[in-house]
């Protein structure tokens, strides 16, 4: 059992890790075909995993409704809307429109789902304003630098700002192209090395806590 729980997954990780790292250097169609097949396997596994996810969702909210936990009404709404979407989706064969006429499923998606998603995204504008207000209060030297840089960049990015402060366009470009880009590149170099190091650790079994912690 220990072999199946520990050594076997590590062995699979080692072999597949090395094979697919090598696949990157092999342009032969056989290699491409292998990658395509494995990607399909992953999609199939993902499909089955979705069943796991949805059952988890149903279970969590069923418990909330049964125990009448705080906010259990929302769980009821979730159940009702999920069942309604499934029924309507099956009824319409998963099609949003038939012969140019919108189905109930399409109506639900276009007039309920899309506006709700848009609303969530739109809230971002207000959150940016509140977050900016909090960070730009020049309480420390770093915050003051942030504030000045932000004002210059904001002025340089809009026509009115550049009209009022003509130099702001060039300075904001310099801030973005030199200061900002160099810091981003430094972060990306660190991230890339970290990614490669983590990949090595996983492939060679040095990092195995993703299997469920513990060292054996």
């Amino acid at each position: 059992m220990i072999f199946l729980r520990r050594q076997m997954p590590l062995l699979i990780t080692l072999i597949t890790g090395l094979v697919f790292a090598g696949q990157y250097y092999v342009p032969h169609p056989a290699s491409e075909q292998m990658l395509t097949s494995v990607t399909k396997w992953l999609q199939i596994i993902g499909g089955f995993a979705l069943i796991l996810g949805v059952s988890s969702l149903f279970h969590v909210h069923a418990v909330k409704i049964r125990r009448k936990e705080a906010g259990w009404g929302y769980s009821l709404v979730l159940y009702a809307s999920m069942v309604a979407t499934i029924v309507v989706g099956l009824w319409a064969n998963g099609k949003e429109a038939v012969d140019g006429t919108m189905t109930a499923f399409g109506w639900m998606y276009n007039y309920m789902m899309v506006p709700l998603q848009g609303t969530m995204f739109a809230i971002l504008a207000f959150f940016i304003a509140s977050a900016a207000y909090r960070s730009f209060r020049a309480r420390s030297r770093e915050a003051a630098v942030l504030l000045v840089a932000a004002i210059i960049v904001m002025m340089g990015r809009v026509p009115l700002g550049e009209y009022l402060i003509p130099l702001s366009g060039d300075v904001s470009q310099w801030i973005l192209n030199v200061l900002n880009a160099s810091v981003r590149r430094a972060i990306l170099i660190g991230v890339s090395l970290g990614t490669v190091a983590l990949s090595f650790k996983i492939i060679f079994g040095v990092e195995r806590s993703y299997l469920g912690g513990g060292k054996e």
Binding site: P29, Q117, V191, G194
Partner: protein, 422 residues
Amino acid sequence: MPEIRRHSGAVVVGVLLCCCGLSGLSSSVSAQQPLAPPQDFRVLDTPSDGGGSLTLIWPPAPYDSKDVRYQVLLSDGTNTPDPSTFKVVTEFPSDSKYVRESKWPWWSRPAGPEQHQYTLKNGKGVELKDGAAYLVALAVVSGDRRAFTSAIQATPAPNWMNWNQINNLFLALLFGAIVFYAISVAKKRDIFLRRIPGLDAVDEAIGRSTELGKPILYLTGAHDMSDPSTIAAAVILGRVAKRAAGYETDLLVPHRDPITMAVCQEITKQAYLEAGKPDLFKDDANFFITTDQFSYTAAVDGIMLRKKPAANFFMGAYFAESLLLTETGASTGAIQIAGTDSDHQLPFFVTTCDYTLIGEELYAASAYLSREPIQVGTLRGQDIGKALILGVLAVGTVLATAGAVLDTQWPQLFLDVFKDVK
């Protein structure tokens, strides 16, 4: 005298006419000279590719200019080897398509950088089948004149090794060797790790949750388990779960990906076992919400507002939802610790969270929290890798500056090597 003047005038006119006539004759002769097609025209299977492609190589000619054009001619091999009957695949000015403009790095170029090259590929009316022989020729066109090279037979075939990317393999192996060397060193002696405030604050955040009797919220990001940042987030979850189990504090881990949820369930279970509190483990601590970005965000925001967790962890990869999540968390007064390699979201996390693990610090978290020599050694390996890259950047900067200041070409040779090896 007038007679002499008249005669001399006639002679001058005659000489001028003669000169004009001769020059006209000479230009007419040059116009009639036949065009010489390239002598060393070669056609080969494109190296380091997946097949379905042929590469044409030929030397530059004295007549190369934008007025003279090259035509690439192709036949499927069943026709007569007369190039004039071949299909014209493409046409371009003769002062273009050089090897130096191609994507081949210097170690895999099939010819010198000054040579012409053209790669014939499938598409745009061309269909090259692997293993089938084709006849390829080149025509030089100037005005209405056309000269042909002899037809050359070539067969496209797929290759088993992409030598153009061998630099990548070399650097990966070098970096791997450095990492394993650093691990062996770390096993023998202690290696200094700089303080990472965001990770020091993990205990503080869990302690605060315990004191307030409120849960800990932990997010693993937008990506699935194939992304290293999600794996790093799952690894940190193990450490956080172990401490949360020790303090007997509730843990909430909402997921966007069912596979990540299944993996994190195992990690959390193991953490509770290691903490000696298996009875406190709840199966539904890890739960799935949805794969949809904003639906997930709305659900997590709702959890934050209803359950008011005292500590929020945002680890892994994030997109536009980052600010929606962290700003809501900040409004509830929770301690917030973020860790991401999504550089475009870092400003939002830095602005709204108490602590942020920037980029590689996310990957360093496992080593920092465990202090195991193997993990710490990996970190040292990363630092040596960074030092190497910094060294190359410094040398490259000096060389580029020297080339510009001294107005010489030799630094460019080294810079080209760096560019190809990178």
